[in-house]
């Protein structure tokens, strides 16, 4: 499992960094917090999804707390965003891009970890998606926004697709490394296409939703 573990760690730490930047930038833009608030929201966004995953898997203490690299990457990303936030912010869609990156990486790594812990395939897909959306959901609850997973149709779907692809590939015996990269790429692509074209999931039957609702 050595290659698998390394792959898994790289995915997880990259996702942690992306979400730390995202959470800290959100803190700067949306609620104008000071350094403590920025770092706290960045770290929670970064490690929240993995923490929910590890609690539900019973892998306690979560990797976040037993492995210092998660804390270091989460704190480092948050500090980078705090110090250079005004510059990063000019990169217009950086918050959305980072969020999509974290979503994709965590959905895939969460699904893989769930499989390794013996969950069935359907459960691994769902727990992968929960890992992907978990950190952002905690972030949104703390700053009092309705979480993107509820309001934005193409947020949970790419996470489910990414998790589904990596679980399917695992069942077919395909190598995890390739399938993880492909699955994360597909998830990222769907998510950014949704952002770019403003695509939404269908509303309930018989309703027509006004533009911008």
């Amino acid at each position: 499992m050595n290659t698998g573990s390394t792959l898994y760690l790289v995915l997880d730490l990259t996702g942690t960094f992306a979400f730390a930047l995202n959470g800290a930038l959100t803190a700067l833009r949306v609620v104008r917090l000071d350094i403590v608030g920025v770092v706290a929201l960045g770290m929670l966004t970064a490690i929240g999804g993995g923490m929910i995953r590890d609690v539900l898997l019973g892998d306690l203490p979560p990797a976040t707390f037993s492995d210092w690299r998660y804390l270091a990457v989460a704190a480092g990303g948050s500090l980078v965003a705090f110090l250079f936030g005004r510059g990063l912010d000019r990169l217009a869609r950086s918050i959305l891009l980072l969020d999509a990156a974290g979503l994709s990486l965590f959905a895939v790594s969460g699904a893989l970890k769930s499989l390794h812990f013996g969950l069935g395939p359907a459960q691994a897909v769902i727990l992968g998606a929960v890992t992907g959306v978990g950190g952002g959901t905690l972030r949104d609850v703390l700053i009092r926004e309705v979480p993107a997973v509820l309001t934005n149709g193409l947020y949970a779907i790419p996470a489910l697709v990414g998790a589904f692809l990596v679980v399917g590939a695992d069942r077919l015996g395909l190598p995890d490394l390739v399938s993880a990269v492909v699955a994360a790429g597909v998830c990222f692509g769907i998510r950014m296409a949704g952002v770019h074209f403003g695509i939404d999931a269908p509303g309930p039957p018989g309703t027509r939703r006004a533009a911008g609702e």
Copy 2:
């Protein structure tokens, strides 16, 4: 324990279905979400209480993830509400009825499971009530409402009464099947009486609360 387990599973799955309908209908009525938001809120409402219970009991991964029937019932109930929500909605108080049903079933099943895991009677009563109110509380936090358990006097009380009855009956050696049905019925009755008559728990001494406050 075979009968006990079956009873417990039936209570739990029925409560899961009721809360899935309730959460999904809430998503349709209160926040007008698309299909992903409706199913996500329905599933979280349905399995949130049991998930909190299982995390606190250390029974990990939660039954939700190790037993596919919970996921299937939660997803099915949410989809039914999404597809037929407009029809169900005309049944005026269906959201409140379903919430009361889920509350009653989960309070009783949560208390029974806590006893089986060796908690003391007071702890089992409280964890039963937490199971009952947990899913609805997560639902309310995500859609930014102050949770019913805080604002509505006769929400936590029936859950505590139901859990107390089933724990008391267990200590007296009465059969779980009968006591569970009676306790859930009493909880449901108190809750619906509170809704019907607008009964509230007492406010702090020396205050008088304006009507409708």
Copy 3:
């Protein structure tokens, strides 16, 4: 570990009582809840931080549920606040004082417990701070306030300092009793100085924050 356990229990129960009063008074002042809401918010504030800590440490069921004294102290404190809240409320800053006391005691006891469970020093400091701010954060989320840990610079910092001092002293082999009292006192002092003088942590570089922002 007998002395350590006793020290730890005394810190924990005192913090539980302070946070129960604080949460219940917050319920009375901010959202004017009835008795059930007051006791529910008081108990959640009181045992929320320790519950998060025990879940993350994998010490399940949490001490709250296996040890009835936590539940009794949390319920008792909440009831006292409910019954005498109008009197306590006249003590102008009692809510802030109680919050600072709970923060300090839980930061220290959380860090000590994390060390005893084998976490590394950095992790123990962070989990101690999480224990300190956890109950108040749950309280703020439920009543729909942005949590103090995000908006108030000198909320997380004293918790981190208190946890750091007690972890550092433990590593140096100093007696836990003395270091715990000193660390909790320093944390409490920093927090109250921040409240008194309105000190804030620095904002992001290049910004100037308007007064009262």
